[in-house]
């Protein structure tokens, strides 16, 4: 049962990644694009965790943690840049 569930959820996550990519492409304003990118980071974390369950190994948590941190920092840096035109104040 778990194998099927993992596959099903992986399909769901991939669909949502494609939807995010769509928003990233059509996003009318650049803020929409940043939001789509941020959501894509979170979705890919979920996908990596799922891959860890699929392969029965806890090794991928480190990768997920790194992506979480880098995603947050890059989103905030984008936002700061758009807010002030300058990353380092």
């Amino acid at each position: 049962m778990l194998d099927y569930t993992v596959m099903l959820v992986a399909v769901m996550l991939c669909i949502s990644l494609v939807l995010n990519l769509w928003r990233l492409i059509i996003g009318p304003h650049i803020v929409d694009r940043i939001l789509a990118l941020d959501t894509m980071y979170i979705n890919s974390i979920a996908l990596i965790l799922l891959y860890g369950i699929f392969n029965q190994t806890p090794l991928y948590f480190e990768a997920a943690l790194l992506i979480a941190m880098l995603g947050f920092v890059s989103s905030v840096a984008f936002g700061k840049y758009l807010l002030r035109g300058d990353i380092i104040e």
Binding site: T5, S16, L17, A46
Partner: protein
Amino acid sequence: MSFLMELIISLLLLSGGIFVLVGSIGLLRLQDFYVRLHAPTKATTLGLGGVLGASILYMYHLQGYVSINELLITLFLVITAPVTAHILAKVAMHHRVKLMERTRNPELVETSRAQLPPTPIDNSSDDKKAGTNREV
């Protein structure tokens, strides 16, 4: 693996997947940026929480002890998601992103953009409000 364990993990995974999917559907479907901001910040965070919970339970089953690494990811996301949302909303206000026509109190964007207190909400005439907005 006992059936009950498998069931719980599967349910957690499924609910997580559904919430992530709903977040992405909302991101694509909703009409203006501020409304769009609601879907990913809430639904996607909870969805990831579900997947992480399933992962924690599964690894507990696999190794016999709870590795607290995953809890750290959850904690980190719960702390950072509101910050990202807040900064993106600020950026949208700064750039005067288009609002939905139905949005109520759109005049608050201008005062908020200047980080001023709102003009008092008395039922003064509309042209007076517009005047104060233009000054800001």
